[in-house]
Amino acid sequence: MQNIYVLILFLLFSLSTSAAKVLYVGEKQQFNAIKPAIESAMDGDSVIVMGGFYKEGNIVINKSISLIGVNRPIIDGDRRYEVITIKKDFVSISGFKIQHSGYATLDDPGGIKINGANHVTITNNILYDNFFGVYIQMGKHCLIKNNKISAISKAEQQIGNGIHCWKSDSLQIIGNEISGHRDGIYFEFVTHSVVWRNLSHDNIRYGLHFMFSNDDSYFTNYFKQNGAGVAVMFTKNVTMMNNTFEDNWGDAAYGLLLKEISDSNISGNRFINNTTGIYMEGTSRIWLDKNLFRENGWGIKIMASCMDNSLRKNDFYSNSFDVSTNGNVVLNHFEGNYWDRYHGYDLNKDGIGDVTYHPLSMFGVVVEKMPSAMLLHRSFFITLLDNSEKVLPSLTPSNFEDKFPSIKPSLI
């Protein structure tokens, strides 16, 4: 039904404006292939492709046209070609299934590549089994929305990223589902962009990977079961809010890996069941507040190279280790967090524990110094030692503390 409305809409549109044409591609249509249709099209025209199977090598779009699929036409790259290359501004592509791009050649073939084009819109497509899903290089104001991008997992070297963005600006990546790629979403030198409501799961390396990309925001995304979680490196002014990082288990998996990042805000996120909830290295001036850390191996690992970070009102539940560090000097600030291991009291009933809490466990410190000690994990002896350390800190830095621990969790 919907398709008919779309058709009627376009018919009306084409009647009323003589400038923009609509070209049809499909069996018993004006064109039986996409390439000739694009060739005949002018800027501002629409090319409507009816359901079917199209294998035309590399389709290059060098006109500002809308390419619209009706009844989910399949465009196949024959595992040799980049399927669609966009080289002109104001192109939009929607409603297609784009599959089997070329693999691992030098020019990084993708299902859709935006090459130096602005205001490109990619919506409602299925990208299946491509080397790269959507590849944006030097694009501005592009919108990638509601696409389903998946690949069959192979080794890391044999697959590209789901949405790969390089040297771009003001992108919107919204509501996509990405799985089976190397990195779900990859940003390098991308600025002023927003990543919102995406689901990135079961990717081989990172669910989201961004480097040298300042002034970006990430809201309400779901990162699940990725090989190594999410990595944010060499970046500043990043906002990450209300994202969920879940089930990133593995020998070197993190919910969120922060490396050399500063002046950022991470709040309202949920870190559940990761080997390490957040791993922080060389980060500074980061606000971490109202995040939930539940059932992680380590809630947060703060390396000695971190400073002036502030952690407030986070909830720590059922983590094997809530916090761990390798340094003796404490340059970060903990305040008002909820710790499920806290056994202090609150006489004046202001919701703040009257006794300072030391979130570092002795065993955590030992393991950080001697990883082999992990062999004693959950041993009775360690439990006893940890408890005595809580009473009488000797190995852990005594100023690593939360002076105003919250009695109640702030989130649940």
Binding site: G250, D251, E295, M370, S372, M374, L375, R378, F381
Partner: protein, 255 residues
């Protein structure tokens, strides 16, 4: 052999303490899985039971049972039966009843709330730990004629395996922190049946990633089939060697 074993088995099954033991295990197992919000936590609690309660019960019960059966054992020795046969029958009866109590009490909630691999690992290790510590209990009861002393030895054994051994491991870790000690650590763990039980169970849980995170050797070894075989073999030795020693002493002992 089977006849005496059978007798001991029936005797112990009717024993109130074993009944209470089974009921307590049953209650603990059900409650940890019902109360904890995740099965992983329940499994960890149960692991602590296997590492602390099961060995203590196995050691103490077998030691006390042997002391209390001294006169009956004498009567058995006066019959035309090999001593070795009597001793092994006692072991057979005791271990089967206590290990049976463990399995019966824990298997259903384990199968209901955990993955098959986790349930099997927990059941098998609980069974094996019972066998090992009864075997050690047989040693404790035979090295001394004095009941109080024998029970003391049993408690010391428990303290050693449940607590002191890991302290020793930690001490060695600190001493040799500068050396590549992962492999020696793995070998060292073979010398404690409880460490073997603990690590193998942890490998079946989420904690496996923590182990792998800190040392590839652990995961390579304990996570592999070879590791399982070696663990199984080591556990078998932990049953056989103490049993062999106590049998040898019993064969030559003046009653």
């Amino acid at each position: 052999m089977s006849k005496i074993g059978h007798l001991v088995l029936i005797d112990i099954f009717k024993n109130k303490i074993v009944l209470i033991y089974a009921i307590v295990l049953l209650i603990i197992t059900w409650s940890v899985f019902m109360l904890e919000d995740t099965s992983g936590k329940g499994l960890l609690t149960l692991l602590n039971v296997v590492l602390l309660v099961v060995p203590l019960m196995s050691l103490l019960f077998s030691t006390i049972y042997l002391y209390n059966s001294a006169e009956f054992i004498e009567l058995l020795v006066s019959q035309p039966v090999k001593r070795q046969q009597i001793w092994l029958s006692l072991y057979f009866g005791l271990s089967l009843s206590l290990a049976g109590a463990f399995v019966v009490a824990t298997i259903i909630p384990l199968l209901l709330f955990c993955s098959l691999a986790q349930a099997l690992m927990m059941t098998i290790t609980g069974f094996a730990v019972t066998l090992v510590f009864i075997s050690l209990g047989f040693v404790a009861s035979i090295v001394s004629r004095d009941k109080a002393k024998g029970i003391g030895i049993a408690i010391l054994m428990w303290l050693y395996f449940a607590l002191l051994f890991d302290g020793l491991v930690l001490f060695l870790l600190f001493q040799f922190a500068e050396y590549p000690i992962e492999k020696p650590m793995v070998i060292l763990s073979i010398f404690s049946p409880l460490d073997l039980a603990r690590i193998n169970n942890l490998m079946q849980m989420d904690a496996a990633a923590l182990m792998g995170y800190t040392g590839a050797v652990f995961k390579q070894y304990f996570g592999s089939g070879l590791g399982l075989y070696i663990t199984g073999f080591a556990m078998l030795l932990w049953v056989i060697v103490p049993l062999f020693i106590s049998t040898r002493i019993f064969k030559r002992r003046d009653l």
